[in-house]
Point group: C2
Chain length 395, copies 2
Amino acid sequence: MAAEKVYRASTTAPVNIAVVKYWGKRDAKLNLPTNSSLSVTLSQSDLRTLTTASCSASYPASEGDSLLLNGEPSDVSGARTQACFRELRARRAALEAADPSLPKLSTMPLRLVSENNFPTAAGLASSAAGFAALVRAIADLYELPASPSELSLIARQGSGSACRSLFGGYVAWRMGEAADGSDSMADQVAEAKHWPDMRALILVVSAAKKGVSSTSGMQQTVATSGLFQERIAKVVPENMARMEKAIKERDFEAFAEVTMRDSNSFHATCADTYPPIFYMNDVSRAAIRAVETINQAAGRTVAAYTFDAGPNAVIYYLEKDTEAVVGTFFHVLGGAIDGWKDSVIKGLKPTVSLDEGAAGLLKGGVSRVILTGVGEGPVKTEEYLVAEDGSPVRR
Amino acid sequence: MAAEKVYRASTTAPVNIAVVKYWGKRDAKLNLPTNSSLSVTLSQSDLRTLTTASCSASYPASEGDSLLLNGEPSDVSGARTQACFRELRARRAALEAADPSLPKLSTMPLRLVSENNFPTAAGLASSAAGFAALVRAIADLYELPASPSELSLIARQGSGSACRSLFGGYVAWRMGEAADGSDSMADQVAEAKHWPDMRALILVVSAAKKGVSSTSGMQQTVATSGLFQERIAKVVPENMARMEKAIKERDFEAFAEVTMRDSNSFHATCADTYPPIFYMNDVSRAAIRAVETINQAAGRTVAAYTFDAGPNAVIYYLEKDTEAVVGTFFHVLGGAIDGWKDSVIKGLKPTVSLDEGAAGLLKGGVSRVILTGVGEGPVKTEEYLVAEDGSPVRR
């Protein structure tokens, strides 16, 4: 008999780093947040997940759906992943019911292969890019007419912040009000090209030990922090409004202040959790001091720090201030660690000198850097991680 | 002519460590707080200030009032110290006006000599004990009929937390409502003998650099933290009520939980300040982890951490749990550092082993310990730091 056709679709999806943080679920099963959030999508030339989704009647039903992640078999039986598969299959099944001439892809096992172009060791939240790529790739495979916002509803159920990785540029996740989560989705506040000179320097800080996972951490905060309600009721709504305005007006000073204040507020509610959760360490705090020193020396705000659920510092700045920001950190950290780009650091003079304490902590605690900037959303690609015969591509 | 008489009075006053923290002024001039607070008075055999107040017509008016603190001349021209002198002199002057036979001490220069029995290097807030001793000694010199609560009104104007050091045991500072501060004073929640087996282990942590002073730090928090209002409006009032109940019922589990939660809440508002204020460092956090480990191993809450405006950990525990608490830290820190008491550590077996990370941070970062417990308020003494001829006593 003729070999059954293998259907394939490949997409890349970006990482996003929030400037107004998502922390807290009002519905854990549906991944509905206690507050809206806003992020900057980072360039896929530096940080991206490439995922190929494939399905075929020739795939043994006994194997079921499968995912190969960075060369390792990955469990897809979790409720989050299953929810994404279920939602996408239902939409495909509806198309097939409306047009019987369509192949019954919704009935075939899914074989997914996914790879990140950045070290998992970096401790960067890769689940956002991962679920965004997974959802986008399957949607393309199924040829769903779904908009990015509609797909963000699905990706959200895989990993909350993944819904923001379905867009490029500056992206808001609206918390919504509906109990079924039908209005908790992402939209684009501004395209990357609206404010293209936004840059990010990521200081990868090696944590002594893995901190509390964000999933359980945020639930503990919601349950025990006496200050958390104030954050979601007042602080975040104000920060969302200020941040959208700052982005629309390309006002970096305002962007930076809200970014730093919101990161501080988020980590404050973690410290107010019982027992307390600490994601930042002395190296993280040294990065904060460094940013404050750089801004003081510049006489204006040229850099903004933000921290997710870990010790890594993400420092946003504008391309024109590369010397003041990157030059200072390159001078302190030296060229020995990975991640510097010759095109960026070439000819940078050290403009600011940090106090010895902060410099020593950074030198001892930063294991690598990542230089990137604002970028585009998921991109369909002809690069496949599944061969035409359905076998994973060896690389 | 016969030498003019030198009038003298000596008192000792204790340090207090808050379990519900004072952080924020609603009136900086009068030292009126944004919230009530509650503290444990620590034993003066370990931590105390001894102050002799003296005055004499023979003291040259040109010298004015003076204070010799730990052998060094100390400025008394500050508004805080002047407020205490003014308030005390006014009360003495009223007595003199009512009884012309009384010597006119209110018109004589004050010569004060003060000494702490603990190293200033320990970075323990000594201003509380210092102003409490200063006010109590002058009040005794002037033979004022003032109650400790009335004197707490005066000491509060010198240093807010000093008002709590005028009592022994368990002490509340009621924030009050009057604009003139006439109802912002301390009272005793319970005597030391009501719950005498309360102990404190202080881990003195050497800070990389001096942090923001509490006076300016709390003003920055009031001005910039979006979470602070929630703390003073809801969190602290609840903690005050729970803490008073826990103390009255000698309920250590409740005492410990409120103590740790309130310390977390206080430091969370510091982290939410813009720019953020960090008093704790990685060593402080290791102490928190150690306390959590000790409590888990005991299967109940036997230790409670609290941190003031610095990295030192104060760990409260009950005498019966000395082995679980002190034994664990002694085993980790070793006997090389100062502050262990043979009477306390004799025969203590290590009952809990900490993870290597926390143990390493503590071993590297704790410079000395202080073993103490709940104690009495100011005590009048015949030990004078000013000789009968008015000269400072050399020791």
